[in-house]
Amino acid sequence: MKKRVLTVDDSRTIRNMLLVTLNNAGFETIQAEDGVEGLEVLEAANPDVIVTDINMPRLDGFGFIEGVRKNDRYRAVPILVLTTESDAEKKNRARQAGATGWIVKPFDPTKLIDAIERVTA
């Protein structure tokens, strides 16, 4: 069984990089362009782990994480946040919103996969 990853990011480049990296590592990848779309596809995507950006149009990462945690079925799904800098304040906000962990952009493929492996069984 391939693990399913939902990625939420408004930048096409980042989405592509995530897609290539995750597919190479043997994950199945479902992509959304912002928090709203992320919540819309959540049920259909049925992810084992979510990777989300913070700054996005319509609904940012904090809002998206809260939304996921309110969903009974997905309130314990691991969520990794992409942050541009190892900014403690942003990390904290993401944590309070319910994020499991974070990845610093520009992400290194190995580190991304490591982080995903760490939070999934």
Partner: protein, 762 residues
């Protein structure tokens, strides 16, 4: 593991030991007097003897035994390892290698030679000169009169070491040597609500080393008060790891606000034995102590000569056990710890043994070559496939969405990395080939009465195994040539003010993606006058030809060229330097010579690191794409009409710098077209061919240079005359790789196949 596999491992070990032996003897020969060098040499012969005993290889055992006895004299300073002694020992090492090979492959050895060496070794052990042994008539099966105690078992320090079978699975150093940490980890309820999981954190922790976990459930309330989403447990972990506290804390990086974490370095408290993953190996401990007596007791333990045989047998049995044990250890990793219950007297020796095992063991696996070959083939397919994919995307120009382009770039990168990694799997140091050469040097030096020292450098330079396998033959021939033709006799050297001993220097190094092997001798250099005269006599050059020194030197690569006044059976052997040049070229390599009269010659070979790819010139002939190996091409030129001369029905020559060179129409030879193309419309590739003659191959156009993956035509289709192999181009089309020699031969009128007509086409 069955007996055959163990035997196979024994022979592998023999090879390693023989290499050790030779290295050590050569060091002694250079004046090294380090006792460790002597010990290493002794150990090598000793362990070959021990293993051979286990498999009943009597010839090997008896020769090794005599050899070992003499080495023991050196070890105990009864015999000075001077040049004469080492001469005998180096030859003995060669015989030992022959005996090992005979035992492995069932061949025969030169009995007279080994008997002679046994006599010489015995003479040395008895304090006589080896020449004395040569003069005496051979006593029939002389019993070895040992004038000194045979080496006792405990000299070798047969130290059984307890090791854990659990260790076979892991790569970590033995747990008992590692720092131990006590970690107390108490998750808070929030940890779970954020999608973290104590189980996963503990799993990651366990990857750092050896871990034992205790779960403290004291905080667990009664069922009616329990909140199913809260965290109640405290995990107490003891972890033995060399990764450090930082690594431990980083496991909890995501959870640090949602748990209480306490990491402390445990004191030097010894780990309780029952926590060690050790399966006690059933050893009789009293036996351990016996095996580990202090060596001095051996001296008090002198036994009469008639008892010695019996003891030798016991020794070999013990050695065998020790060998098997060592193999097991090498196969696994250094033993965790010397036997706990051994006596103090033996523990130091055991530690030494353990350290030795540790330094000897590098984690390697053996893989069948055909598996690697299959992988290399697949990678070749992948490279081609990736090129095709890129090309079709470019051709269809879908305004490549960035994801496709990104994916392609990633794929290209990955493909390259895979190709490099796979090639690295097959890469091996040239050391074994270089080591074989020192024996060749010794043999030729003996035959010619010359005194020669071989110096090797860059033995660890790596190159693809297939290249290594094909390197031995030309190298052997060149070494023979260097000693036989290159170096002068000691008298001549002394007369020329040089040392009586000549030096042959063999070096390997990497240079711009190729391996460069140099063979230098400090002999007389090439006698240019003689070479020139010979070339004139053989009609290779005109009597008034104006050649540079370099051109004269390179004449020796012409077929049938030998400057030795009498054909010696050493270098001669019906093989000339032209054959060396061919075999180097067949490997996609080049060979050059530079020589300085009175100072010697240097042969330089430059070879590709692998045979799986080839640098080719991609050309067009009659609308077909062909690849010409770059190594065969001397130069390319655009023929001028004035330079083309016809003679006979269809023969044409091109004049290049005042000499004439036959034109070969590749399209005609391969039957791509019936009529001759006009040379002026095409390009001429000047190639060197067998016999050293140059030919100009006519092609229509040059597309460019490219590295191509070689695909065998024989394996996939059938042999095609004039074609060496095939490759697949980026657009998916098959392109044939020319066999330049065959094309040239065909142009001389030896047709490729009957249906190719070389008759004049009007």
């Amino acid at each position: 593991m069955d007996m055959n596999e163990i035997k196979e491992i024994f022979f592998q070990e023999c090879e390693e030991q023989l290499a050790e032996l030779e290295t050590g003897l050569l060091k002694l020969n250079d004046g090294d007097r380090d006792p460790e060098t002597v010990n290493a040499v002794f150990r090598a012969v000793h362990s070959i003897k021990g293993g051979a005993g286990a498999f009943g290889l009597d010839d090997l055992v008896s020769f090794a035994h005599v050899f070992e006895t003499t080495l023991d004299c050196v070890r105990s300073n009864k015999l000075e390892p001077n040049q004469d002694v080492l001469k005998v020992m180096l030859r003995s090492a060669d015989v030992l290698a022959d005996l090992t090979n005979a035992a492995r492959d069932g061949g025969t050895v030169d009995e007279a030679r080994s008997r002679q060496l046994i006599k010489e070794l015995e003479a040395l052990a008895n304090g006589e000169s080896p020449q004395a042994a040569a003069a005496e008539p051979a006593p029939k099966a002389a019993p070895v009169v040992a004038t000194m105690p045979a080496p006792a078992a405990n000299d070798e320090g047969f130290q059984p070491v307890a090791f854990s079978f659990d260790d076979f699975e892991t790569e970590e150093p033995a747990a008992c040597d590692l720092p131990a940490y006590d970690i107390v980890f108490k998750p808070k309820s929030d940890l779970y609500s954020k999608g973290n999981d104590a189980t996963l954190l503990l799993r990651d922790l366990s990857r750092l080393g050896q871990m034992s976990i205790h779960c403290d459930m004291d905080g667990l309330p009664t069922l009616d008060r329990m909140n199913p989403e809260a965290a109640y447990f405290t995990w107490k972990v003891s972890l033995k790891t060399d990764k450090g506290e930082e690594a431990i804390r980083s496991v909890f990086e995501f959870a640090e606000w949602d748990c209480d974490l306490d990491v402390t370095l445990a004191g030097d408290t010894p780990v309780a034995t029952d926590e060690l993953p050790m399966q006690p190996v059933p050893f009789d401990l009293s036996m351990l102590d016996e095996g580990a007596q202090a060596p001095t007791s051996a001296a008090q333990d002198q036994i009469a000569a008639q008892e010695r045989d019996a003891r030798d047998a016991a020794v070999s049995a013990a050695e065998t056990a020790s060998n098997v044990l060592q193999m097991a250890q090498t196969a696994a990793r250094p033993p965790a710890e010397a036997g706990r219950n051994a006596t103090t007297a033996s523990s130091a020796a055991q530690t030494a043994a353990a350290q030795q095992a540790a330094s000897a063991a590098t984690p390697t696996i053996r893989v069948d070559l055909d598996r690697v070959d299959r992988l290399i083939n697949l990678v070749g397919e992948l490279v081609i496939n990736q090129a095709m994919l890129s090309q079709s995307v470019i051709e269809n120009d879908t305004n490549g969405t960035s994801s496709i382009n990104m994916g392609l770039e990633e794929l290209q990168q990955l493909t390259r990395e895979i190709q490099d990694s796979v090639m690295a799997i097959r890469a091996q140091p040239v050391k074994p080939v270089f080591q074989r050469m020192s024996r060749i040097v010794r043999e030729i030096a003996d035959m010619t009465g010359k005194s020669v020292r071989l110096v090797t450098e860059g033995e660890n330079t790596e190159v693809d195994k297939t290249v290594i396998d094909k390197l031995a033959e030309p190298l052997t021939h060149m070494i023979r040539n260097a000693v036989d033709h290159g170096l002068e006799t000691p008298e001549k050297r002394l007369a020329a003010g040089k040392s009586a001993e000549g030096t042959v220097r063999l070096t390997a190094k990497h240079r711009s993606g190729r391996i460069v092997i140099e063979l230098a001798d400090d002999g007389a250099g090439i006698n240019r006058e003689k070479v020139r005269q010979k070339a004139i006599d053989n009609d290779l050059i005109a009597a008034d030809a104006n050649l540079s020194d370099e051109e004269i030197d390179n004449l020796i690569f012409h077929a049938g060229f030998s400057t030795a006044d009498k054909i010696s059976d050493i270098s001669g052997r019906g093989v000339g330097m032209d054959v060396v040049k061919r075999s180097i070229q067949a490997l996609g390599g080049r060979i050059n010579i530079s020589s300085k009269p009175g100072h010697g010659s240097i042969f330089t070979m430059s070879l590709p690191l692998t045979l799986a790819v080839l640098d080719g010139m991609v050309v067009t002939v009659a609308n077909q794409t062909l690849v010409v190996p770059l190594t065969a091409i001397v130069e390319t030129l655009q023929p001028e009409a004035s330079a083309i001369h016809s003679f006979g029905a269809s023969q044409r020559l091109i004049s290049i710098r005042n000499s004439f060179c036959p034109l070969v129409d590749v399209g005609r030879i391969l039957n791509f077209r019936g009529i001759q193309a006009n040379p002026v419309d095409g390009v001429a590739l000047l190639v060197e061919s067998e016999g050293g003659g140059q030919r100009a191959l006519m092609v229509d156009a040059i597309q460019g240079q490219r590295q191509v993956v070689i695909k065998s035509l024989e394996a996939n289709y059938t042999h095609v005359p004039g074609i060496a192999a095939a490759t697949i181009l980026g657009d998916g089309r098959v392109a044939l790789i020319l066999d330049v020699d065959a094309i040239v031969s065909a142009s001389r009128g030896q047709s490729l196949k009957p249906e190719i007509s070389l008759a004049a086409a009007g």
